[in-house]
């Protein structure tokens, strides 16, 4: 397994320093050509925004899932549906919903909530909606697990001790579910770094991301060296993040165990 995976990846990454000729010219253009800087910025911005969007949606969702046993199955189903459809089908479904004369804009116009169709697609908004939709389960499930693992008497106890809902959440539930939240957030961020179909289909021209560029360079420009360089950047960033999150997630747990 390791060989089957590592050999081709290694061979590809080699090309960052050997294609078209040996040397660091690929890394130099990564540094010097502004298009790459904006690609990296876009990618990080989109991934961060997706992560934040997932956290904000997933927390209440996972909370209801964990505390209302009657809704658990239904909500599990809802959050898993995107897994059962292909990424293309999903993206086209969003197009139907979000475009200027799509269902959402038409309904809002009809209700008189808005006077002009909202720009929901072929821009950052569209990208984020699509990506949050796909990646939501990766925060929901770890979070669900850590909320379920909490002693159900803790929040009532906090209330009896004088903590209002907000303070009880910040002082008790949030710290205790932080490991699950962090696990999910890192997972989403890392996966978002590598997304390219959703940004390509639901985004605009200014939403180009690294992964999309890698694909372009391989399939259309034939620039394997630059593709390999960008891949290396993504891979290193991913590994660093995963490593850091390991430390972060484990330390509170270890503190409790000691």
């Amino acid at each position: 397994m390791a060989v089957v995976f590592a050999l081709p990846v290694g061979a590809l990454l080699m090309r960052s320093a050997s294609d078209p000729v040996w040397g660091l010219q690929n890394f130099r253009s990564l540094w010097e050509e502004p298009v790459y800087a904006s690609l990296i910025r876009n990618t990080v911005q989109i991934s961060l925004a997706t992560t934040i969007g997932c956290i904000l949606l997933a927390y209440p969702f996972a909370h209801v899932m964990a505390t209302q046993p009657r809704l658990t199955r239904l909500l599990t189903l809802v959050v898993l549906i995107p897994f059962w459809s292909s990424i293309l089908v999903r993206s086209f479904a969003w197009m139907v919903l979000l475009q200027n004369n799509g269902i959402i804009n038409e309904s809002l116009l009809w209700l008189g909530v808005i006077g002009q169709p909202l720009e929901l697609i072929f821009n950052r908004t569209g990208v984020l909606i699509g990506m949050v939709h796909v990646l939501l389960p990766f925060v929901v499930f770890p979070l669900y697990g850590s909320i379920r693992a909490m002693d159900p008497a803790l929040m009532p106890a906090a209330a009896c001790l004088g903590a209002g809902p907000v303070r009880a959440f910040l002082r008790v539930q949030l710290p205790l579910t932080l490991p699950g939240l962090a696990t999910g957030a890192v997972l989403v961020f890392v996966m978002a770094l590598g997304f390219f179909i959703t940004p390509a289909l639901l985004g605009g021209r200014r939403d180009a991301v690294i992964a999309r560029m890698i694909q372009l360079q391989v399939s259309q420009l034939g620039d394997w060296g630059m593709a390999a360089t960008l891949s290396l950047v993504l891979l290193v960033a991913t590994l660093l993040l995963l490593g850091a999150s390991q430390l972060l997630v484990r330390s509170p747990a270890r503190r409790v165990a000691e």
Partner: protein, 360 residues
């Protein structure tokens, strides 16, 4: 008279079709220790959580120091609560757990530190401030929970089976300690248990719950010696019940015609002449009668069917003529009739030592 610390008026709680609690009236005076005692599902916890504010009653009102607290959320009631499984915050040290309610009340840090220390000393855990709950034994965790509920000096302390998760020895020790805290601090306590011994030892008064209502409330001795219903007589200690029909009723004395002859006892309320009744007698009130002993107010005959050695005493079962069984208790080493299985015996008890209760 001062206002009671807590007053429940006609409190009830319904979950859809299920009536969990109904028509509960109760007053708790300052410094009083009341236990809720009753079988599983009888509504003790539900009543307690309504007082704490974690659930809203569907009927009735709850007054804390004379003020209706039903509209108030738990964090505005200033009541101390100790949960069965402690509910300590696992990510906070012992000191941080105890300081939590003080922080919620914006007590200055230095004062909070002193009060935490004093609370730890009070429950016998000085020097444990920096431990995490996971580094404590069950008994120690329960002490921390107690300290956390006492540190802000609430006017009322609620405890829901706080010793339920502890082993027997530790329970006995903690019972004594809780009783000591109650006495020394003069706090008002509402205590839920389904351990009758615990209730008898610790309480000023006991409220016996059954099917969501208070079946009887009173001092432990009154409840034990003068149960008002068959349920209370059977739930609190052992009793033998003999069915019959009331012949005469006068001056709280009842004469009952039974299959074992005429029996006399203290009359509970709710009896009427000619109505069905139950004679309830405690095993320790039953005496074995020798051949020369004079008959007692109540005397029956039968055959000893079982003798069970209990250490301090022997419990025995007398099978009466119609198949009914009567329990007796004989202190070990007591002089008198020797007990042996299969022997024909006469047993008796005085009228004041037994209760005549309404049937059903």
């Amino acid at each position: 008279m001062s206002t009671p610390v807590l007053e429940l008026r006609g409190v009830g709680k319904r979950f859809g079709q299920v009536v969990a609690v109904t028509g509960v009236d109760l007053t708790l005076d300052k410094g009083e220790f009341i236990s809720f005692l009753g079988p599983s599902g009888s509504g003790k916890t539900t009543t307690l959580t309504m007082v704490a504010g974690l659930q809203k009653p569907t009927e009735g009102s709850i007054l804390l120091n004379g003020q209706d607290v039903v509209p108030l959320p738990p964090y505005r009631r200033n009541i101390g609560v100790v949960f069965q499984h402690y509910a300590l915050f696992p990510h906070m040290t012992v000191a941080a757990n105890i300081a939590f309610p003080l922080q919620m009340r914006k007590v200055p840090r230095a004062e909070a530190g002193q009060r935490v220390e004093a609370a730890l000393k009070l429950v016998g855990l000085p020097g444990f401030a920096d431990r995490l709950p996971s580094q404590l034994s069950g008994g120690q965790q329960q002490r921390v929970a107690l300290a956390r509920a006492l540190v802000y000096e609430p006017p009322l302390l609620l405890m829901d089976e706080p010793l339920g998760a502890l082993d027997k020895n530790l329970r006995a020790q903690m019972q004594i300690e809780i009783a000591r805290l109650h006495r020394d601090l003069g706090i008002t306590v509402l205590y839920v248990t389904h351990d009758q011994e615990e209730a008898l030892v610790m309480s000023d008064r006991i409220a016996v719950f059954n099917h969501g209502r208070i079946e009887q409330i009173g001092r432990p001795q009154a409840l034990y010696e003068r149960p008002a219903t068959r349920f209370v007589a059977g739930f609190l200690g052992d009793s033998t019940f003999l069915a019959g029909r009331v012949q005469t009723l006068a001056d709280e004395k009842a004469v009952v015609q039974t299959a074992h002859g005429v029996l006399r006892g203290h009359a509970a309320t709710g009896l009427r002449v000619g109505g069905a009744a139950i004679v309830a007698v405690r095993p320790e009130r039953v005496a074995l009668l020798g051949a020369d002993d004079a008959p007692r107010d109540n005397t029956v005959q039968g055959r000893v069917s079982d003798v069970i050695y209990l250490g301090q005493s022997r419990k025995y079962v007398v099978r009466l003529e119609d198949g009914a069984e009567l329990l007796g208790l004989q202190p070990v080493g007591a002089a008198g009739v020797a007990l042996s299985e299969g022997a024909e015996v006469r047993v008796g008890w005085t009228a004041t030592d037994c209760n005549v209760l309404p049937a059903g």
